[in-house]
Symmetry: C2
Subunit: 109 residues, 2 copies
């Protein structure tokens, strides 16, 4: 998968995932990968950025399967940001789709 296509979209997918329910980083790597393949080195720095920008709050919870997990919870500001990202993404992807479709007739002709 072209890494460039992912830029920015991952942020939206992470925000939307965490909006559904609080999640921890390692779990998010697998969740997000269902939509776009991604690895730890991408997810953890992204989570840190979003937390620094107050879109997420975190809390630790122990696990019986390993070290404690750092859970992420989306804030009100995070939801607003998510909504604006979603709007931008939908507008962009619709414009791109229309642009690509509008020219399909050229290929057939």
């Amino acid at each position: 998968m072209n890494a460039q296509f992912k830029k920015g979209v991952l942020e939206l997918i992470v925000l939307e995932s965490v909006r559904q329910r609080d999640m921890y980083g390692y779990e998010l790597v697998e969740e997000v990968s269902k939509v776009v393949n991604v690895n730890e080195g991408t997810i953890y720095p992204l989570l840190k950025r979003l937390t620094n920008e107050h879109y997420f709050e975190t809390y630790l919870r122990e696990s019986t399967e390993g070290p404690p997990r750092k859970y992420y919870h989306v804030t009100a500001a995070g939801i607003l940001y998510r909504d604006s990202l979603e709007k931008e993404w939908m507008e962009l992807s619709e414009r791109v789709w229309k642009f690509l479709k509008q020219n399909i007739s050229d290929e057939g002709g």
Copy 2:
């Protein structure tokens, strides 16, 4: 517009634009901007990259309105690359759309 969303997509839009008809850089800035806003500092380096990778060939043509224009013409390899990019873009955007839509019911409830 979130600059990150544009990454990679611009390449596809430029390839598709030039596929329709040979175009020169300055013209492409305006053409591409109909889909996603973009400026010269983005388009010219992108055209150079795509030319270095043999997806474009170029030729000069004089203009009555200013300095000569460098026209870009897409190669066979460029078309193949465009097609693979289009496929990837469509697959990604469909997955993202489905992911976002599938959870709309959460918001309504």
